[in-house]
Amino acid sequence: MEYTDKVMDHFQNPRNMGKIDNPSAVGEVGNATCGDIMRIYLDIEEDVIKDVKFQTYGCGAAIATTSIMTELVKGKKLEDALKVTNANVAEELGGLPPVKMHCSNLAADALQAAIEDYKNKNQE
């Protein structure tokens, strides 16, 4: 697979990998059938992402995209974090091979799922 050096760096040294105990919210996208699952844990204080962690099942692209996404949104306000798209994530990595642009590039969706979870919990 022709990955950029940046993808390989995030694959080898993933940032913010792991879980948060008692997270404010959790989001997960993908399924084992398609081969990529991304789970995001958020620690949110006053609508700011204080901490973010991820766990990913999938290929090199799936791991690298979730890793770099956590860097992009850590410390951000929720409204700004929500502006990050899957395309931004791929761009930050210096691009992805075309076949990886779909199910392996869902990190922003996973984040949005986590923020959705947060909003649902805090409506009650």
């Binding site: 697979m1 990955y3 390989m8 694959f11 080898q12 993933p14 990998m17 879980k19 959790v26 997960e28 084992a32 059938t33 398609c34 081969g35 990529d36 699952i37 991304m38 789970r39 766990q55 990913t56 099942y57 999938g58 290929c59 090199g60 692209a61 799936a62 791991i63 076949v99 990886k100 199910c103 392996s104």
Partner: protein
Amino acid sequence: MELIYMDHAATTPLDQRVLEYMLPTLQDVYGNASSVHRKGQEARKLVEEARSKIAEVIGATPREIYFTAGGTEADNLAIFGVAEALGLTKGRHLITTSVEHHAVQDSFLKLQEIGFDITFLPSDQYGRVNPQDVAEAIRPDTILVSIMHANNEIGTIQPIAEIGKITREKGVYFHVDAVQTVGHIPVDVQTMNIDLLSLAAHKFYGPKGIGALYVRRGVRVKPHIYGGAQERGLRAGTENVPGIVGMGKAIELAVAEMEERGKKEIYLRDKLIEGILKIPDVRLNGHPTERLPGNVNVSILYIEGESILLSLDLEGICASSGSACTSGSLDPSHVLLNIGLDHATAHGSLRLTLGKDNTEEEVDRVLEVLPTVVHRLRVMSPIWPENLLK
């Protein structure tokens, strides 16, 4: 870092002795093997020598060997060639299995698309087809049975001789894709009752882009590439002299050294399998004993194949996987799905295929590296049981 190449089912390195034997054909022996003059005849002689060696090894006569540009072309020629030769007279029904290489599978899907009736036989959990199923699937309008000798992914060896007995009795042509077996385990078109057989040189330490189709005398096959009269009209185009000559030398060496190499590979294979199965939640894919000497294929649960390959590659280990993320499609390998694996288990497949130069030290190194790689990826995985949400 020392490189460890364990992807011999994908391709093998060119044997140094084969390279040396080929060199004159890339230099002085430049004649067109169809030319009347001495330069042409010099090339022709080498081409015919290669043809004879190949024939001898598989129990055929030289006139039954037709050179092609590799295994894929040989498979296509056998399948479309028979379909065209008999499709308008004897019938339009062909039988194959659900675990064939894409070169065979996609050829049958194309025939199906243009109106032929294709039976895809199932395999058991090890990837083996039941000869009885073949017997029952044959009809009066069946014109071809095509079954691979051994599977390129999981290494499972099919009961070819038993099937050959059935097709011969019923008078149906039998094509065997032996791309993974020639030079690795015995292949004999006589005792196995094979009518058409595909070979590719790059799987037995020969050059890439050269292969052959054996066509039993009297078996009707239509050409697919039109042009000159080369290969007695069945395969037009100026002969690939260096490839053909390399293939002849490679098959001679591979078969001469087959027994010894096979023993070594089986020892290393079984050591690898035993070691890898010590990692928790790993299963062996393919048959425990009826498998190619060099083939190891396992599914490592909770992680995905491409990330295993990348991690191994960073350690200098070259391997392969049937995961969707390595196939370029959205589905994992059809072979793994057809032996009953669910998608996740198929995505976690790892294939290590051994060759003549692999050593026990290399096997030990893989067994040292792999558990660490697996653990690192599992710690990252949301579907690893320890990471499941409470």
